[in-house]
């Protein structure tokens, strides 16, 4: 198909979905490139599964269009889409063995028996389940079931694989291991993955790009680094990692930096300039805890705020400080425990007066 070279591999254009009066997905537009792992990240009920089901063909969009490889998918039933889904519940057929489950989709391909058996064997080998081929789904563990579901969805060599919370049913240890396995299987097969997850760490580990969703809308699309370091809204900044936010007002621009008045600091700070912000505009200043320095003396640089250690939690490799400012506001800051030592070696202790400093580049100004 010539269209595949021209446009993006998957194009979602202004897609909305309503159930009655309730809008589960609102005006979502996205493009996904061939061979990437794309994550849909958002809290429970934000419409991730609904969006996935529209891609698989189980729901028709109320409005908007979906193009796969240049082909409009409107009206194409699920059984005719080169898209396969790994269901959140895995949806393995309980009355079929592992091998039969994996072979199921191949019934609809023009293949000889030998070819089909070979493909099943290859898939079972890919997910390391060859010894379990003859078992029924209830005779294997949760992690193995997950891999059967993956092998079944991959067996027909789909153009696009949709994974709905693929790791949610696994325990923490297995989840971490499986993340890397998923990535390696994706790399070996070259199939485009769209992974739905509510777990930001999972999204950051797995995905080449992430779309952050909230209340049916896509808030931001970008690489994990972009999403983390350059969030475009308070929602995204707060959803990914921890952050402390303050109300602020833009007072002007100096040396390519933005001057921002922060009432909670009782002072003016300098921040990285963002487009579309005008003088006098009310904004939010957000600071990630690991980007702050804590020192007994006033730090160099334009940004310094004095406060008192209200609370501290020792985690081993680092410590989390909660600093109360004269205005009453609280700031969180991380300090790496680089030096070995007992309590005396700490940067600061309870009730110590300390200075917080941060680079203008680390201060995030959010207009939204």
């Amino acid at each position: 198909m010539s269209a595949s070279e021209a446009g993006p591999f998957l194009k979602i254009e202004g897609v909305s979905k309503s159930f009655g009066s309730f809008q589960a997905v609102r005006d979502v537009s996205l493009t996904v490139e061939k061979g990437e792992i794309f994550a849909l990240l958002g809290g429970s009920g934000c419409g991730k599964t609904t969006l996935l089901r529209m891609l698989a063909g189980f729901e028709e969009p109320t409005s908007g269009r979906i193009f796969l490889d240049g082909r409009d998918m409107a009206g194409v039933p699920p059984w005719n889409r080169p898209v396969h889904m790994m269901f959140q519940s895995y949806a393995l057929f309980p009355h079929m063995t592992v091998a039969k489950n994996v072979a199921y989709g191949l019934k609809h391909e023009k293949m000889t028996r030998a070819e089909r058996d070979a493909r099943v064997a290859e898939m079972l080998d890919l997910v390391q389940l060859t010894p379990f081929a003859g078992r029924k789904p209830h005779q294997i563990s949760g992690g193995q079931r997950q891999r059967v579901a993956l092998a079944r969805a991959l067996a027909r060599q789909p153009k696009l694989l949709l994974l709905d919370e693929p790791l949610a049913a696994l325990d923490k240890k297995l989840r971490e291991h499986t993340q890397f396995e998923l990535m390696s299987i994706q790399a070996r097969t070259g199939v485009t993955f769209i992974v739905v997850t509510h777990d930001q760490e999972e999204a950051m580990t797995l995905a080449d790009r992430i779309a952050v969703m909230d209340k049916g809308q896509v808030k931001q699309v970008g690489s994990p680094t972009e999403i983390y370091e350059f969030p475009n809204s308070r929602f995204v900044a707060g959803f990914i990692g921890s952050i402390t936010s303050f109300e602020a007002r833009v007072t002007g621009r100096e040396d390519g930096l933005l001057a921002v008045e922060v009432p909670a600091f009782g002072t003016r700070v300098m921040a990285r300039d963002v487009a579309g912000v005008t003088e006098g505009q009310a904004v939010t200043l957000a600071l990630r805890p690991e980007k702050l320095t804590i020192s007994k003396d006033r730090p160099e640089g334009p940004n310094a705020v004095e406060g008192m250690v209200k609370d501290l939690a020792y985690f081993g490799k680092d410590s989390l400080y909660r600093i109360s400012l004269p205005s009453g506001a609280l700031v969180q800051a991380h300090a790496v425990n680089a030096r070995r030592g007992t309590e005396a070696a700490r940067v600061a202790d309870w009730d110590d007066r300390v200075w917080l400093g941060f680079d203008p580049g680390a201060a995030i100004v959010l207009a939204e």
């Binding site: 429970s44 009920g45 063909g57 189980f58 729901e59 028709e60 039933p77 699920p78």
Partner: protein, 279 residues
Amino acid sequence: MKRRPVFLITMLAFGFAFFYIPILSMIVYSFNESRLATVWGGFSTKWYVSLFSNRQVLAALVLSLKIAFISASIATILGTMAGIALARFRAFRGRVMFSGLVTAPLIMPEVITGISSLMFFIMLAEWIGWPAQRGFTTVTLAHITFSMVFVTTVVQARMIQADRAIEEAAMDLGSRPWQVLFDVTLPVIFPAILSGWLLAFTISLDDVVITSFTTGPGSTTLPLLIWSKVKLGVTPDINALATLMVLVVGAGVLIAGIVMNRAAARASADARLAYRANE
């Protein structure tokens, strides 16, 4: 991809027509003026009038209700005991035989149950002189026997579902096992016991075959009365009787169903609210 299951809905409509057209036809013809039960001869309520003045019908109805009430009550006690025994007592002597005895009446054809009860009562009278005459007592005994196993099935199923931990908690708090039974187990399974009783009552009230074998002169239940008339063909007064029975039972089941449906709807609404609150 939600498509209307047209074929299935058609089959449902066809099935319900099949279920209800005969009954509706019977109801309509109960208002038939004509003595020829199947030929329409104008509207009339005279068969209802003659029905209500028929002493025989009323006596049969009273006898049926009496037998059904007594047999259902005893069957519920015995059947509940058997259900508890099968669900809770893991191993006791003769358990295999006991569970066989409890399932066998479920698959025994009614003719065989009827004939065996009758032969048994006759031989018993030969050997020990009791029962001298068949009638109310023998019918009730037979009804208890074959309806108690239905109670057992219902109670046993409910017991297996019930949480054993609450019984253990009661024992932990110092109750003897039989006290636990009365304080905890029976109250918990009470709805099952109640539906077991209703089932036994209905089965007894509806039975023709076993009753016809075990009854004697002067003890004609309502189904037996209908049976003897129906064997001779379709008559308008039976149409009237049938209409009354169908309406009474139908109304009862409908009301019970609506009440339960409301309760179920409320429960699921509560669950949904709780779910929303947790989100």
